[in-house]
Structure formats: C-alpha cells, structure tokens
C-alpha cells in the first residue's frame, strides 16, 4: 500500500515539475495519465512516456523540453539548459491591477510618502499631466465606434437585409396566419467587436512617448468596448481597470501608480512570454487585435522575442507593431529581435505620433471588412 502511494507520489512529482517549468497541466490530465499507466500495465518506460505525451498534451514546440524533463525525473539525467536558464535571472512576473500594487513594499512606499518613490531597482513612479494631442484623441474617440474591427458572431439575428432567409421565424409566423406565408423574413450574423489588446513599452528608450501612449490607450479604452491595456518594461503590468476612469488625469495618475518599472531596461521577449504564461491573459488575445507600441530594442535574447511573437501570431487575429523609428520613410527593422519577429507581424508601421497611431487603429476595420 505504502509502496503504491510512493509510486503515485513519484508520478505526481513529474506533473508538479512540469508546472514549475511552465507547462499547463490540469488535475484531470494527471488523473488520466495515472489511469493510463495502470491500463497499460507494468511495462517499459516508453509506454509511460507515450502515455504522458498523450494525456498531458505538451505543445509540439516544447516536446524537447518535455522529454528532457521526463528523462531528468524518471531516468535521473541532468538537464543543463533548463536549470541554467532558471537561475540566470529572476523570472519576469505579470502584475495585476487589483487593489494591491505589483510589489507590496512598493505599494507601501507610495502610500507612505505620497507619489514619489525610488528603489535600488530603479522602480520609479511617475506623475502625468494631460498634455497636447487632446484634439486628435477627441476626434479619434468620436470616429472609433463606427470603425472598430468586428468579427462575425455565432448567433443570428433578424434583419431587414440579411444573407439568408430566417426559416424558423417565417414558419412560426405562418402558423399564426393559418399556414400562409405573409412576409419574407431575413437574418444575418450578429457582429461582435474584436478585442483590442494594447502592449505599451515603458522602457527608457521610449521615455518621451509613454505619456502620449497612455493617453491614447485611455481614449481607446473609453471609446471601444473590449480593450485590454498592459505596460511592459522589466515587468508586465495590467492597467486596464484604471484606464476606464472617465477623467484622463485621474486615469493616468492611477495607472502610473501601478506601473513600477518606468524608464527601466527592456526585456520584451520575457515580457511577452510572461504574458503568454498566464492562461487568463493569453485567452484575451484569442482572435483579437494585438497592438504593440514599442521600438523593439530588445536587450535580452532575440529568439525569445521571436518565439513569443510567433505564438501570438497563432492565437491573435492580427498583430500590429507600431514603432516610432518607422517615422523615417526608409525604415527597415535593424535590431535582431525585430528582424526575427518581422515575419510574424501583420503590420509593422509608423508609431511616431498620436495621429499616426490613431490612423492605424481606425484602418483596422478596413481589413476586417474584406
């Protein structure tokens, strides 16, 4: 009895190891795996591995990691790559925009001392004032509701001019009129707005633009229904909720308190991977427009950034990357990260000014109409 418990604990140790290494493993999958092992009977390790692959369903890009972890856990071999990576740097965490700030000590500091806080990590709080571009943003907010990108929904609704006859309704009406068809009814698919997910780079190299970008994000969040806004620098912070406030000053001030990494370094690849690692966040991007406002100057590993963008391209509807560097007409991406990510972007455009960014967003609907 104790022996079986120990064996089960050993198997469950593997699923725990997988979770620590960033694989999503649900309890029902662990259960299915244990049942599968029992079903296949005491046999070779190959059976256990195949059962693990089938029931725990690792994504195909990570089969290599998965097998290495399997070997490490069951065969006792060492995994140099994985361990080295983890000890290298503190893993990038995603911060929520709940009542508590991203870092407890940081939150306390701001509450104690008011607005200004600085720490050894160069976590800076920043105050914003509503600036120029107000006119542009006001025009943008007015134009947006009729031009947000939409997709066809699952449900039908009756409409005067529709793509098909609404048979269900017509026959129901006919029963009311003793079986006579009185009127041709039509129906069409309901349209739904595609979610717009905005990632704002708040690193040092984008310093002069972050304020304008936040103001833009605020206008967008107010004007459209489904919008999510995140900032990324050395960490990832969700600032959607404060941006829903009506007053821009108030919204930007509240949002700026949440973001702890103003003008720091850039680890875009890590930030994007941190985003994808939270299933709830990743689900936000399904079928959505991903709008990245960043110069793409990646200090970290360019392949990590390209891999993350490739994953985004498989789940998002469109990825639009707007960089202020593209204001120059002869612009070609030159940084390693952006060059590697270029094939996965649907659009790499000019984010040099608020007018340009607004114009790009308003043009998204043109694509969706096609």
């Amino acid at each position: 009895m104790t022996e079986t418990t120990a064996t089960i604990a050993h198997f469950l140790g593997f699923t725990a190891l997988l979770r620590r290494s960033g694989f999503a493993v649900a309890p029902e999958q662990s259960m299915a795996w244990l049942t599968a092992i029992e079903l296949l009977g005491p046999g070779e390790i190959g059976d256990i591995r195949r059962a693990a692959r089938a029931t725990l369903a690792p994504p195909p890009e990570r089969f290599g990691d998965f097998d290495a972890l399997f070997d490490a856990h069951f065969l006792g071999s060492i995994v140099p790559g994985l361990e080295g990576e983890q000890s290298d740097e503190e893993p990038l965490r995603a911060a929520e925009d709940g009542a508590i700030g991203p870092e407890p000590e940081f939150g306390d500091e701001t509450h104690d001392s008011g607005a200004e806080a600085a720490s050894a990590e160069r976590l800076l709080a920043r105050r914003f004032s509503a600036g120029e571009d107000t006119q542009t943003l006001r025009r943008f907010a007015r134009a947006l509701p009729s031009r947000v990108p939409r997709r066809r929904g699952y449900r039908w609704r009756s409409a005067r001019t529709g793509t098909g006859a609404d048979a269900r309704r017509m026959f129901r009406d006919a029963m009311r009129h003793a079986g006579e068809f009185v009127k041709l009814r039509r129906r069409r698919r309901r349209l739904r707005q595609r979610r717009i997910v905005v990632l704002i780079d708040v690193s040092g190299s984008m310093k002069e633009r972050t304020q304008a970008h936040l103001a833009f994000a605020h206008a967008l969040a107010r004007a459209a229904d489904a919008v999510e806004v995140f900032t990324m620098g050395t960490r990832l912070t969700r600032i959607t909720r404060p941006l829903r406030l009506k007053s821009r000053e108030q919204a930007l001030a509240t949002a700026s308190l949440l973001v702890a990494d103003w003008d720091g370094g850039t680890r875009i690849g890590d930030a994007l991977n941190a985003f994808l690692a939270v299933p709830r966040f990743a689900a936000l991007v399904h079928g959505a427009v991903l709008l990245v406002l960043s110069d793409g100057l990646e200090r970290g590993d360019p392949t990590a950034m390209a891999d993350a963008v490739a994953r985004f391209s498989r789940i998002a509807w469109r990825i639009v990357w707007l960089t202020p560097l593209a204001a120059d007409p002869g612009f070609e991406p030159r940084t390693a990260g952006l060059v590697a990510a270029r094939p996965y972007l649907d659009e790499l455009g000019d984010g040099g000014s608020i007018e340009k960014i607004c114009a790009h967003v308003l043009d998204l609907a043109e694509v969706s109409a096609a």
């Binding site: 999503a24 649900a26 029902e28 999958q29 259960m31 299915a32 049942t35 599968a36 079903l39 296949l40 190959g46 059976d47 195949r50 059962a51 692959r53 089938a54 029931t55 369903a57 994504p59 195909p60 089969f63 997709r151 066809r152 929904g153 699952y154 039908w156 048979a167 269900r168 017509m170 026959f171 006919a174 029963m175 003793a178 079986g179 698919r189 299933p279 990743a282 689900a283 399904h286 079928g287 994953r311 498989r314 789940i315």
Partner: protein, 295 residues
C-alpha cells in the same frame, strides 16, 4: 471516469496497431498508444499536425477497426448549430399541419420525423454504432469551440422543444486540427492529444508500397527521398503523404508508357507541388534533387 480495458477485442496499443494495419493504416507507437488510451479512458482524441500527414485517414481507419459508421463534421468559419446539431424540417411540419387541419386532427410537430439530425446529434443518439469526426476544428470560430467544450464534457445537448438529449454511453470522438491557430487550453485538456509528424522515410516507404498499386520498391524509395528533401525547402505547401503516394503512382504510369526514370519524376512533379511559386522556387534544383534521390 469509466475505464474499459478492452474495446472490440483490443486490449493494448500493440493490438490496435495491428488492427489498424489490417485496415491499411500504418500507425506508429505514439499514435496507437494515444488512440488506445482515448478509447479506453472514454476521452476524445485530438490529432494535430501539418496538412497531409494523415489525420483524417487515421480517424477513418479507427472507425473501420471499431466497425462503426463515421459521422464527419467538417468545420468552417461560421459553422453553426444548424450544421452541427439539428434543424427542424419546417416545410414538412407545415405540410403536416395543413393536412391535419383539413381533417380536423391534432398533430405533434416536434416528433422525430420532423427533426433533421446533424452529426453531433446523430452521434449522441446512436453512440455505439457511430464515431464522430470533427475535422479541421481550427477553422471554426471561437464560439463554436466553446460550445464544443460543453458538448465534449457532458455529451448532452438540449433542444428547446424536446428537452435534453444525453448519450447513454460516451461516444467516440476524434478531433483534427491543422494548427493554423492554437486551440483553447481547456479543449486540449479535455482530450487525449497526439501530434502527427511526417513519417520516417522507412515508414513512408511502407505506406507507399501498401497504398499504391504496382509501384516498384526502387521508385518508392526515390519518391520518399525526394519528398523528404522537398519538405526541408521553404515551400508554401509541403507535400503530404497522399501526394507522395500519388507521385509514385503517376511516375510509374509514365514510366510504363516509355518515359525514362528521372524524366518520369520530373514530368509528374505537378502531382506533388501544386503552387506556382513553389514550382518556380524548386525548378533550378529539381534535377539535382532527383539525381540525389535516385542514388
């Protein structure tokens, strides 16, 4: 979780592999294990892989082994409940009502004869005779995926006029995806998963010999080598297994009509590469690739 050790006399992955071979499908260890586990655990089987690696063929072969009829639901953008579940036959209902009205009878217009079954409903009502194949699910909308999630966990659907219909035993369901987009994590979690790779050269050769009639072993070997080489090229559409089989057959046919070997392969290239850009890309090097493959 209702676990069944033995399904139609098959009680291990090896036995399933043999049964599939008898149905003209060569499965590897991984696929037969995943398929056996799906059947034994009563979970849906999710097959992912590049187009043309034989996902749909695998489903057909499994249906053949189980002796069940295959209900295929081809997904497309905008697939809806009327295509997947059921529809009322309104014209028949109307005719029946008029007829009943003329004789002064009453009639129940929500009887089975007025219900048009679509694959998912049909599979719920006859789970032991049918197998449901939901093909290319990555083409459907997110809402359909969410709806499918509900269907796959309860195996129950509700028709407002009739109430809930539930399967009396868990049906066998196979889903395929070309991975043009990622599926929701929750859907993957519900399923037993298998990623189908392009087959190894040795296995692909056995597939060609089994599927194609009258192809010599030498021709099959050359086709496998050339196709393997083509799959490493940056082509828009990589040749699948079906294309490899067709190429071997086409080249053999030309050869029988007196065409010499490398020329027979080159002239039947249109069977493998079906994209103008791909043909242009490969044209300068095709001679070298064929020569290398024949060696």
């Amino acid at each position: 979780m209702a676990v069944r050790q033995t399904i139609v006399g098959i009680s291990s992955p090896r036995e399933l592999e043999e049964a599939l071979r008898a149905a003209y499908y060569l499965a590897d260890d991984e696929l037969s294990t995943a398929a056996y586990l799906a059947l034994a655990l009563g979970k849906p089987l999710l097959l992912e892989g590049a187009p043309g690696v034989g996902k749909t063929e695998a489903a057909k072969a499994i249906a053949g082994v189980l002796g069940r009829s295959l209900l295929r639901l081809q997904c497309y953008e905008g697939v809806d409940a009327a295509a997947a579940l059921y529809e009322w036959n309104f014209p028949r209902q109307m005719l029946a009502l008029r007829q009943a009205g003329a004789y002064g009878d009453t009639i129940d217009i929500y009887r089975d004869e007025f219900l048009i079954e679509r694959p998912m409903l049909a599979c719920l009502r006859r789970p032991h005779e049918t197998m449901l194949l939901i093909d290319e699910i990555d083409r459907s909308d997110h809402e359909f995926e969410a709806f499918l999630l509900e269907f796959l966990s309860d195996f129950q659907i509700s028709i407002p006029e009739r109430g809930a219909i539930k399967a009396y035993e868990r049906p066998v369901v196979i889903l395929t995806s070309n991975r043009t987009r990622e599926l929701h994590e929750a859907l993957r979690r519900r399923c037993v998963y298998h990623w189908i790779e392009y087959p190894s050269a040795e296995r692909e050769m056995r597939i060609i010999m089994m599927r194609a009639s009258g192809v010599s072993e030498r021709a099959a070997r050359a086709v496998v080598a050339a196709v393997g080489r083509l799959r490493r090229e940056p082509l828009a559409k990589l040749p699948g297994i079906a294309e490899a089989v067709e190429w071997a057959e086409a080249a053999t046919l030309l050869n029988e009509q007196g065409e010499r070997w490398p020329e027979a392969f080159r002239r039947s290239l249109g069977v493998v590469l079906k994209d103008e850009d791909d043909l242009v890309h490969i044209a300068p090097r095709i001679e070298a690739i064929l020569a290398e493959a024949q060696a």
